[in-house]
């Protein structure tokens, strides 16, 4: 009898310790998950919520330059005023719509430029010897070692009327007097392509590098010429890299402020510049917030669609 009880106690003890272990596991899981979640809540969700509510408030000439949307009238009443006038204003003034279109157009051209330049570059790197590959990848990343701002300033010098580009063209006799390259849309696109090229090359390289070379040989074997094989095998299989790289260039490219401000002309209407003006020149914080929210919803929808198509492909490759 006592033996039986001992056995029972033993099993109960085992169960208890298992319960403790389960709790410990759960706790450590929560701890691990809470770090990225906490980061996101603190640095993304809360600022995002502030901007979101700001976009519904009213602009006033005081500090801070907006009215709170919630007011405690007394103990039991809360007055919430949602002002959609900011959003309405966006549609009524063509400057905002035009700057959206202009930003998206510029970012699209820059993305395409990065893709056309970056794809052969990334493919070339995958085809080189392992040592050369490391060197080339280092060269791609190297510009990050200097400040982004300094590099854009450098372009001002390069493209300016007394800069090397103009003097070269003049020395070659192609032009007789300096042409305006700086402060044009062309300069903005050039600056965007230059600055964002590594963001295109790296994901492209990562996806191209994974492609099994025997697949190309199999294509040749089945009667496919190298050029055709490249478009039928390599390009479709690097789809993830193309989409990933394009997203990394396009999304920050749309909202880019520094490059259009430094390289673009006074007439260039990129949304980043308009935003800056609204915030710091006009002090219309609610309108600027509404601009941001609209831009965000413009970008987030294609982003979700792309993410979906990516996860579909991921399933195929697994």
């Amino acid at each position: 009898m006592s033996k039986l009880r001992m056995v029972q106690n033993f099993f109960q003890g085992a169960q208890e310790s298992r319960l403790v272990r389960t709790f410990q596991n759960l706790f450590s899981k929560i701890l691990i998950i809470s770090i990225p979640y906490g980061w996101h809540i603190l640095f993304f969700l809360i600022p995002f919520a502030i901007v979101f509510f700001l976009s519904f408030s009213q602009s006033v000439l005081q500090s801070p330059p907006y009215l709170p949307i919630m007011e405690f009238l007394d103990e039991s009443f809360i007055n919430i005023r949602l002002n959609i006038g900011n959003y309405k204003a966006l549609w009524h003034d063509s400057i905002y719509i035009n700057s959206y279109i202009e930003s998206i157009r510029t970012a699209l051209i820059a993305t395409l430029g990065c893709l056309l330049l970056g794809y052969p570059l990334a493919y070339g790197i995958t085809q080189s010897t392992p040592i050369a590959r490391t060197i080339f990848l280092m060269l791609v990343i190297l510009p990050f070692w200097t400040s982004f701002l300094v590099r854009v300033y450098a372009w001002m010098g390069i493209l300016g009327s007394g800069g090397p580009v103009n003097s070269l063209l003049m020395n070659l006799g192609i032009i007789s007097e300096p042409i305006a390259i700086l402060n044009t849309n062309f300069a903005v696109i050039l600056g965007l392509i230059y600055s964002y090229l590594p963001f295109m090359v790296l994901p492209l390289y990562a996806s191209l590098e994974k492609i099994d070379r025997t697949l190309l040989e199999a294509a040749y074997d089945l009667g496919c010429k190298p050029f055709t094989a490249f478009f039928k095998i390599v390009v479709p299989l690097s789809y993830r890299g193309i989409v990933g790289g394009s997203m990394l260039v396009f999304i920050p490219g749309v909202g880019e402020y520094v490059i259009p401000a430094l390289l673009g002309g006074s007439d260039s209407l990129m949304i980043g510049k308009v935003l800056w003006n609204e915030f710091f020149v006009n002090h219309d914080w609610p309108l600027a917030a509404a601009l941001v929210m609209t831009l965000f919803s413009f970008l987030v929808i294609p982003l979700i669609l792309l993410q979906k198509s990516l996860s579909r492909i991921q399933g195929e490759e697994a």
Binding site: L215, E217, A218, L222, G223, K232, L237, E317
Partner: protein
């Protein structure tokens, strides 16, 4: 072991001096940075053959296959397929299709698209492509998987798709690089026969690379044994097994007992070798070109060695020893017999009796003997 009952329609064209080889390699060599991966290989393969290149890894067999496929251009030598010089023709213009070891199925295409890929390159009409793809998928029993992507298939199914993709273009030559290497043993054995059946049905010429000698013996019409870029022996499975031309081939294919000795008698119908190690004279009842006094190696397969505990008169082809080890393999047991000279002799015996009734035991004194035709003289 071999598929001995191949239909008589497949004769042995290599025996016929008038037969024209379908694929001819003339003194083909390829070197990478001074290393000869393929060294002066000349080989004729005939229409409808299933030729097997056999050798250990790194012997150059895959390189030779890739030369045939047009993926490597030989440093010297020529390659003719059906009388046309294809030495420098790139892979995409050769009437040759290869089944890669990894199968190399296009992961972004369905089974049907994979198989149709080669036909599309020819610019064939769409409905014709569809018919051909269906036909070939039926042949490899993959019709019901036409819409699947490669990642949704098992290893055996992928292998079938890869085969279908090779065959659908009706190439003059199909190259198979370790076609069954990725399959498990049971599936491999079953697939060996299917592959041979399909090859015979279509009458296509196959050249296959393998390191698995059993696979080569089962499937091939002829085997080419390679060592360090050279072809050491070419012949039917039975020839290569029964009459290896060198120690290397004898050792590579199956187990072999090797005795060293000196020729004491050489006649047109027999040869006699005195062997100290075996403590007896070895009488071989077929001619071999080895002059009297030459030191030679005699190879005898373990399954040709008879082993018994009953006393036998010692003499030609009979000696005695002590059983040191018994390896029980299920269907056969292999006895390791140590002769008084210290030489180890392997003798295999099929397990006709249950284990408990096994008549020979460890440390038994046994007499071993072999028939006069069992020995093979190796001079190289």
């Amino acid at each position: 072991m071999a598929l001995a009952d191949r239909p008589s329609s497949i004769l042995e064209p290599w025996q016929d001096p008038k037969a024209i080889p379908y694929i001819e390699m003339e003194n083909v060599s390829i070197s990478y940075g001074g290393v000869m991966a393929v060294n002066n290989v000349s080989l004729s393969i005939y229409k409808g053959e299933l030729f097997c290149l056999l050798g250990p890894s790194g012997c150059g067999k895959t390189t030779l296959l890739r030369i045939l496929g047009g993926f490597e251009i030989p440093t010297s030598g020529r390659i003719y397929i059906d009388g046309v010089d294809y030495t420098k023709v790139p892979a995409y213009e050769r009437p040759v299709n290869m089944m890669f070891q990894s199968y190399a199925l296009f992961p972004h295409m369905s089974v049907e698209q994979n198989v149709a890929f080669g036909l599309k390159q020819e610019g064939m009409a769409k409905n014709l492509i569809r018919d051909k793809v269906q036909e070939i998928l039926q042949l490899v029993q993959m019709s019901s998987y036409a819409a699947r992507k490669p990642h949704q298939l098992s290893g055996g199914q992928r292998q079938r798709v890869a085969l279908a993709r090779c065959l659908v273009k009706k190439p003059k030559l199909v190259l198979l690089d370790e076609p069954l290497g990725a399959l498990d043993k049971q599936l491999r054995e079953q697939t060996q026969f299917e592959l041979v059946n399909i090859q015979e049905k279509l009458g296509v010429t196959f050249v296959m690379v393998t390191h698995d000698q059993e696979e080569a013996m089962t499937m091939a019409t002829r085997i080419g044994v390679m060592e360090e870029g050279r072809l050491r022996q070419v012949g039917k499975p039975t020839e290569v097994y029964e009459y290896p031309n060198s120690l290397y081939v004898a050792d590579f294919i199956g187990e072999m007992n090797i005795f060293e000795g000196i020729v004491t008698e050489e006649e047109s119908d027999h040869i006699l070798v005195h062997c100290e190690q075996a403590a007896c004279d070895i009488y071989i009842s077929h001619a071999a070109s080895a002059p009297v006094g030459a030191s030679v190696s005699v190879a005898i397969r373990p399954e040709k060695v008879r082993i018994t505990t009953e006393e036998m008169p010692l003499g030609r082809n009979v000696t005695k020893g002590i059983v040191r080890e018994i390896a029980y393999l299920g269907d056969v047991s292999i006895y390791h017999v140590i002769l008084p000279s210290g030489q180890k002799v392997l003798a295999s015996m099929s397990n006709q009796f249950r284990l408990a009734e096994r008549p020979i035991n460890w440390d038994d004194e046994v007499w071993i003997s072999w028939r006069p035709e069992s020995g093979v003289i190796l001079t190289a």
